[in-house]
Symmetry: C2
Subunit: 186 residues, 2 copies
Amino acid sequence: MQVNFLKPSDLIEKKISNISKTKGHWIEIHTDKIKLSNKKESIREYIRHPGAALIIPELNNGKLLFIKQFRYALGKVFLEFPAGKRDAKESTLQTAKRELREEVGYTAKKIKFLTRIHPVIGYADEVIDIYLATGLTFKGAHPDEEEFLIPIELSPKEALDLIWKQKLTDVKTQVALFWYLHHQKL
Amino acid sequence: MQVNFLKPSDLIEKKISNISKTKGHWIEIHTDKIKLSNKKESIREYIRHPGAALIIPELNNGKLLFIKQFRYALGKVFLEFPAGKRDAKESTLQTAKRELREEVGYTAKKIKFLTRIHPVIGYADEVIDIYLATGLTFKGAHPDEEEFLIPIELSPKEALDLIWKQKLTDVKTQVALFWYLHHQKL
């Protein structure tokens, strides 16, 4: 089996040069010439992303707060935890607090980092940091002018059932719920 | 709370026209002018993706087969289940079988669909179909010329521990393992 003979160092790819940066309205594609470990040249391409934060709002009644939001790329409404892109100079913790306040209107007594995930390793450098917010107080939401969403309270069990019924298919939300359930058992 | 008064129909965004298609070497950005439910116009942008398949290879010794692969966008090696993009005219089941054979060298007696996930709802239309392969026979791998990978056998428990230790951060692989564990309990 050919691939069994590879050493870890055989996996590494090195940048030779940037061939192009191609920009849409916001999204930017980086196209690089690279050297494979066998010395051959190739091309790798990816989207630059500032990183993002997801926040799991645990309400004082024990339920979790989700949102329903239309996702244009897929043309349908998704059930998700609040999340958003990191603004310049923000930490992902600041992003998490901002999204909690803007999207669903809460401040939290405690925000705990659970994990960092990589959602698109094939073609983007995006990371999503997942936080758990507890001790919530409602202060009033103020979503972006162009952001329309509906908040939904679900128990962890109800949300898990929606996953197994294939009605909650957003991966960042699935992963965050699994981490939440794991964290509750610690 | 302003957002509480929205109806599901308030979430819907409608395409008015395509503004541009911007192509890198492979990746294509679609930029559309759209109409929000409040009749205002806005811009939405996303990456078109052909869809992908992930395959969970369950070896006859009960372990699962993962691969280690360098991911250029993030500049490091990731532990993943075998997966790949759908070729034109392929079903994702065909993609799953092809990746199982190409990347790790196995054919399967049985391949079962577990679920479809959406990894990048914010800016891509990608779907990943997750399959479980059992009754495996080794026939010899033949990865792409430019694809270097190292196969790794792990028990489900070992893989789960790596997730909780934050050493397996690829979301498609995390979600696939959770679905595998759920499937084993059914």
